[in-house]
Structure formats: structure tokens, C-alpha cells
Amino acid sequence: MSGKKKSIARDQPVDLKREQMTCGSGIRYIIDGLKVIKQVVISEFSHLFSDFGILIFFIGVQIIYPIVYPIPFYHQHVRELPVAAVDFDNSALSRQLLRMADASETIHITEHSRSLDEAKNKFYAEEVRGVVVIPKDFSRNVQRGERANVAVYTDASFFLVYKQVFTGFFQSISTLSAGIELKKLMAKGASRQQSVVMRDPVPLESVPLYNSNSGYGSYIVPVVLIIILQQTLLIGLGMLGGTIAERKSYHFMIPEFDNCHRIVPVILGKALTYFLFYSVHVFYFFGVLFKVYGYPHHASILSIYLYFVPFLLSVIFLSIALSTFFRSRESSVMILLCTSIVFIMLSGFAWPSVSMPGWMRAFSLIIPSTSAIRGFLKLNMMDASFADVLYDWGILWLLTLAYFVFSFTALRRIIGKKKKSPMFE
């Protein structure tokens, strides 16, 4: 390979326009094009494997991130949160309430404080995540048929913590409350069934669809994996492009073995290379890791592949195009690293896209990850059929086309630069 490069490097510069005209047409052109694709794939692979720094982005990140990233969510759920109880009543009923709260799977009473201040201090010191205060005349009020109060102190600065603590208190207090009332109604002669209905004539059944166990890892990790696919391509190819620009070695971008400077086969050859690479990653992420982590996988790996074809292609074409603009090896990391989290937010999975302004929703669609995440979540997590994601899939194909054109014009610009590069001087 290197011998070939040297001989190519000695080639004389050629006048582009004249040379292009003698480059055949029809079948001949296509056959030559295929040869170029093959050459580009070979040279791209050897180029990749000779540059360790780049290889980290195409292999290392994909191995390390998916192992490290889900570690915080290993437990998936926040359970048995410590809470403090202040029981001024100290009656059978108040103790029953505390036992019920303690039995709830979301909270666990770790402190019995004698005063509210004592409990609050534990709360500020983050030793407990909530406080329940039962007032002095609690049991008496309940028995007299007067309203009894229970005060609950929660911290809503962390969503999951708040949700769990509140749910724990709310459910145990409601259950006790319902029990008291049922007893009263039944004492008046109503049947159990009648009493239940009397208490809640319009019961609501809330059924979580998809991610029904509300696991945090299965909520966030799939999204991050898709972003990793996109960002490593953008940054990795950007680093390749920056290195080329820094060394003015444009023959890596537009190879020498094709004197006609055909751009389409060069793009296709590069795209094929990275597509092959990323097909492995897609299988590893969604075929292997998902099973290892036990995340839901409703879609078959085949339909995920089918869905990701235009996603990978559009990202690859965009990466090829952008790679021509970076001026140094470090530029792409410096500029693109910060975009990961912006792109995650733009996909609308943490903050609904319906709450974003119109221009932002429109802009988010030109980022391939937006439609990739949406469609993937529908297909794999929400059990949608492929027909349900055709719209998102269509957008990805449109992006593929648009970014192909973009990469074509970007590479044509490079041919101009290449003519000026030292090799041709």
C-alpha cells in the first residue's frame, strides 16, 4: 500500500477538465467507479488502522462508553429512601400509619425524631429525604369524625427522589384513610362492596405503557447509545479531516488512483467503509448489550437495522462534508463535543418537543439523531410497527439525500485545495 502511495505521489498534476473528458462514459464509467469504490474502502481501512488516535473514536468509545454509562443506573430504581418520623400523637393509630409507611417499598423510616427541628436538621444534612409529622390530636380527631392532618415534608429539587418519597407517604396515608372510612361505612350497615364504591365512585386505573417498570437505565441508555453512534462519526471523521488539512495531505480525502477525480464513487467508498464499521456497532449495542442489560427489545434486530440504514448514511455523509472544514486534528473535538447534549435535548425525549418553539422543532429535524431516537424509541421501546415510524424514516432518507449533496459539494471544494497542496507544487 505504501509503495503504491509513493508512486502515486510522483504522478504529475493534471488539468482536471481535460482529464475528466477522457475518463470514459456509460458502462465503462460505472466499472471504473466500482473499482474506485473498492480502492477507497481499502485505503480508508488502512488509513484508519494506521492511526491509533482515530481508531479510539471508531472502536474504543463504542466499547468503553456502553460499559461505563449504565453503571449509575445499575439499580434502575430509587427504593427505600430514608425518611424521618415525628410522632406527637403516639397512639395505636399513629403507629399503624408509620408501620404502613415503613412497609411501602419507596420509603423506609430510619429516624424517629422528638421535634420537628431535629428532623429538619437531618433533612438538611441529607440523612433523610422526607419527614412525616403526626400531630398530637391525630387519633382523637379521627375517632371523633373530624378531619385529622398529617404533615409531610418533601424535597422536590430532585425529581425521582420527590416522586418516590411523596408516593410512599401518599399511598400509605390514603390506604389508612380509606380503611378508616370503610370501617365507618360498614358500621352503618353498608356492605364492603358498597363502601368501596361510596368512597371512590369513579376509580381511575393508571396503566403505564412501555417502560412499565419505569427503569431509569432503560429510559436513558438507548438514547445515549444512538448519540454515541452519531457523535463518534462526526468527531472521528472530523479528526481525520483536520489531520489531512493540517498536513495538507489531501490525497487521503480524494485518492490519487483516480485521475478523473470522480467524487461520487469516493463518497460511496467512504460511506461503505464506515457503514460496515457501524453495522457491527449497531449489532453490538442493540443486539448484544440490550440483552445483557435486560432492556426491553420489542423490535427485531433486522427492523432496527432497516431503520438505521438512512440514519447511518445521513450521519456518514454529513460527517464527510463537515470533515473538510476542520483545520486541525483537534478542531472537531473542540467544536463538536459540546453538541452531544444539545442534540439529546433537541430529540425531545427529556423535555417534550411540543413545548419547544417552532423554529427549534424544525431545526431539530436536520440533526439525524432526532428522528433516529424518536423512531427507535417507538419501534423498540413502544412496540410500534414499522408503518408507525415511516414518517421519521422518511425524514432520515431526505437527510441522507441532502447530506449526500452536501458532501459532494464539500469534496469538490477540496479538489480545488488539493491542486494547490504541496504535492502538486
Binding site: 468503553i64 439499580h75 409531610v152 422536590a156 429539587s157 361505612l185 364504591v197 381511575l204 444539545v342 408507525d388
Partner: protein
């Protein structure tokens, strides 16, 4: 030629002016990401999330329930469907976030006390949105239910007060200590902006010094600093500290003034934390560069360190629920300690003395490069380390 810290600062300002990448990372990208996040969160809490309703009864009571749900600020009944399958497709297709099903003969069954179930199938893939919506719809149905229950009891001769008490013998008085309006926009956005800032700081810190290694100018840098590596680094830091402090002020103004994040504690403490965050990440940048002795490898190390940070600072999933290795990792991120001060002072308004340990941690990060001081000196003086790609 002048030497010393000031000479290094002047030299650095010249370098920043000459390369477009510096202004890209310190001006354009921070501004652009700030604009995106301001626009994204400007509306505040999510409102009018589209849901689908299957009203199988179409009676006065069922329409009343639909109106009650529709009037909730968080949801909007956007689709009325005629069969459950159609509704489910709305949800799985992503058009609607939930499907509420009111059964046939709803009104008749309610009045005959047969307790017909209303179903709320909500998309829980969107965790935050799902649980907000579910809570609101629950409260709407519960209100209707309690109203009917109270009316029925009053018919049986109970007074309004008695009926109310028996409908709910124990009342929960909720005191939400911190973030009382349970607005999660506050904490999403107030962790996203510092997260962006820390990425820019650590990248710039590594790049600005590392590029001197790569371009073999680090010897000259130390000469300009009068032969002292310490002064060279301090001189290098000053222009970036200045720019990032301005960005930090901008960030806090955006958060507290533009987006209305509550500020229950002291702005001064928050600014002190912001500047400590900048210094801490500048220092960690130098530490990474010293370890790797190569700008690109140090940048990669920083990429990993900074791009995973958002997960590990525990704003989304709480740190105490992490397994031990992840908890340790969280502690070695300055951003975690910054967020503790930030939450404590801005959202919680907790006693200020609780921030002391976090400030101490940030100070430890600032001092961390001194551990490898001798190695830095070696790298800066030994040409074998220079010019690496």
C-alpha cells in the same frame, strides 16, 4: 523582552486573537448553546401535552370529565378516538402522550354506584412527562369522584363538612421544602448550562497549553514566563479565567433573570462557586495534559470525563442510588460539587455552611496539578515530548 506573568498574558491574548478556534469555543458555541436552551425552556413547565380520549359513553358526565381533563394546564385533549386500537396507535406513533378511556354506560354506572373504571394509558417512556401527566389526570378524576361521593353522602343527610371529612378522613398537608412548585425546568436547565460551561473550560485549558507542546513553543512560553512553569500556567490561565467568568456571570443572569430559576440563597456564593468551578476545571485540564503529555490524548481523556459528567452529577438520577464505583466517579467531578452548592443556594435555600465541604473539594481540584508538578517541568523542558500529534 519583558518576562513574567503579564508577558505571558499579553502573549496569550495575541494567540487568542490570531486563531479562530479560540473565539469559536469561547464565544460562538457558548452563545449558540445558551440561545438553544433559553428558547427550549422559556415557556417554563410543559403545557398542553397532546393526549387522546376515547369517550365510550358520550353522556353529560363523561363530557364533564373530558372537560375537566382538558382544562388541566399540563394536557390538551387533542384527539378523540372511536376505538381503543386507534387510540393506542396515536400513543405508539408518538402523537399523543396518553390515552384516557371512559367506558360505555359510564354515567349510568356511576349513578348506580357500580364504580366503572376509567383507564389512563400513559406513555411512560418519557419518564418525567409521563409521571407529571399521570399525576394531573389522577387529580382530575379524583376531584370528580370525590364530588360524586360527597353529593351522595349529603343526600343521605350528612352535612357538607361531615361529607367532606368522611370522603377523606386524613388530610395530607404537603410542605415541599425545596423547589415548591415542583418545576423541573429549573433543575434541568440549571444543570445543563453549567454542564456546557465545564466542557468549554476543560477543552480550552488543555488546548491552550497543549498546543504549545504540539507546536514546540512550550520552551518559549516558559522563557517568557521567566523560566517558571508555575508562572507560565498562571499567565496562561488569566485570559481564560476572565472570559469564562464573564460567561459565568452571563449564565447566572440567564438562569435567575431570564428563566426565572429561584434564587433562595446568596448570589455571591453562587458566583464564588462559578469561579471555583472555572479554576477547578482549568487545573484538571493541566493535570490531564501532564498525565498524557500530548494534546490530543489529553483532549480525548477530557472528552470522556466531561461528556459523561452530566449523568454522574446526579441531577437526573440521584447519586446516593448509584453503586459505589459510580458514586466515587461522581465525587471526582468538580461539577458534582458545584451543583451541590448551586442546588443548596439557588433552589433549596439551605443553610450556607453546608456548602463548605463542596468548596473544599473544588479547592482540592485546583491544587491537583501540583501532584504532577515535576512531570510538567520535565515535559516543558524535554524536547522529546514536543511535537507529538
Amino acid at each position: 523582552m519583558r518576562t513574567g506573568i503579564i508577558a505571558v498574558v499579553l502573549r496569550e491574548i495575541d494567540r487568542i486573537r490570531l486563531r479562530v478556534l479560540y473565539s469559536f469555543v469561547m464565544l460562538l458555541l457558548p452563545t449558540a448553546t445558551a440561545v438553544v436552551f433559553i428558547a427550549m425552556f422559556y415557556e417554563g413547565v410543559p403545557r398542553n401535552l397532546p393526549i387522546a380520549v376515547l369517550d365510550g359513553d358520550n353522556s353529560a358526565l363523561s363530557r364533564k370529565l373530558v372537560r375537566m381533563i382538558d382544562s388541566l394546564p399540563s394536557v390538551e385533549v387533542k384527539y378523540r378516538v372511536n376505538d381503543a386500537l386507534d387510540g393506542k396507535e396515536r400513543v405508539s406513533g408518538g402523537d399523543a402522550f396518553a390515552l384516557v378511556v371512559i367506558p360505555h354506560n359510564f354515567e349510568k354506572d356511576v349513578l348506580r354506584f357500580r364504580a366503572p373504571h376509567v383507564y389512563n394509558y400513559y406513555n411512560n417512556q418519557y419518564l418525567l412527562i409521563g409521571s407529571t401527566m399521570q399525576k394531573d389526570i389522577y387529580s382530575a378524576v379524583r376531584t370528580l369522584s370525590a364530588g360524586i361521593s360527597i353529593a351522595a353522602r349529603m343526600k343521605k343527610g350528612e352535612s357538607l363538612y361531615q361529607a367532606r371529612v368522611s370522603a377523606q378522613p386524613i388530610e395530607i398537608q404537603q410542605h415541599v421544602m425545596f423547589n415548591p412548585n415542583t418545576n423541573y425546568m429549573y433543575y434541568l436547565v440549571s444543570s445543563l448550562l453549567p454542564n456546557m460551561l465545564h466542557i468549554f473550560i476543560i477543552l480550552m485549558s488543555i488546548y491552550s497549553i497543549g498546543i504549545e507542546l504540539k507546536e514546540r513553543t512550550i520552551g518559549e512560553l516558559v522563557r517568557v514566563a521567566g523560566g517558571s512553569c508555575f508562572r507560565a500556567i498562571i499567565g496562561k490561565f488569566i485570559p481564560y479565567l476572565f472570559v469564562f467568568s464573564l460567561l459565568g456571570i452571563g449564565m447566572n443572569v440567564i438562569l435567575f433573570r431570564v428563566l426565572g430559576v429561584p434564587l433562595r440563597g446568596s448570589f455571591l456564593i453562587i458566583m464564588a462557586a462559578t469561579i471555583s468551578l472555572i479554576l477547578a476545571y482549568q487545573a484538571v485540564g493541566v493535570l490531564f495534559l501532564t498525565i498524557m503529555a500530548n494534546v490530543r490524548l489529553a483532549l480525548m481523556m477530557a472528552s470522556f470525563y466531561a461528556s459523561t459528567a452530566y449523568t454522574f452529577i446526579g441531577m437526573t438520577f440521584p447519586i446516593f442510588a448509584f453503586p459505589l464505583p459510580a458514586r466515587i466517579w461522581a465525587e471526582i467531578l468538580p461539577l458534582t460539587h458545584f451543583m451541590r452548592i448551586y442546588i443548596n443556594q439557588a433552589i433549596a435555600g439551605a443553610p450556607a455552611h453546608l456548602t463548605l465541604s463542596s468548596f473544599a473539594a473544588l479547592a482540592a481540584f485546583m491544587l491537583s496539578p501540583f501532584i504532577l508538578g515535576p512531570r510538567f517541568k520535565k515535559i516543558a523542558s524535554d524536547e522529546r515530548y514536543w511535537g507529538g500529534l
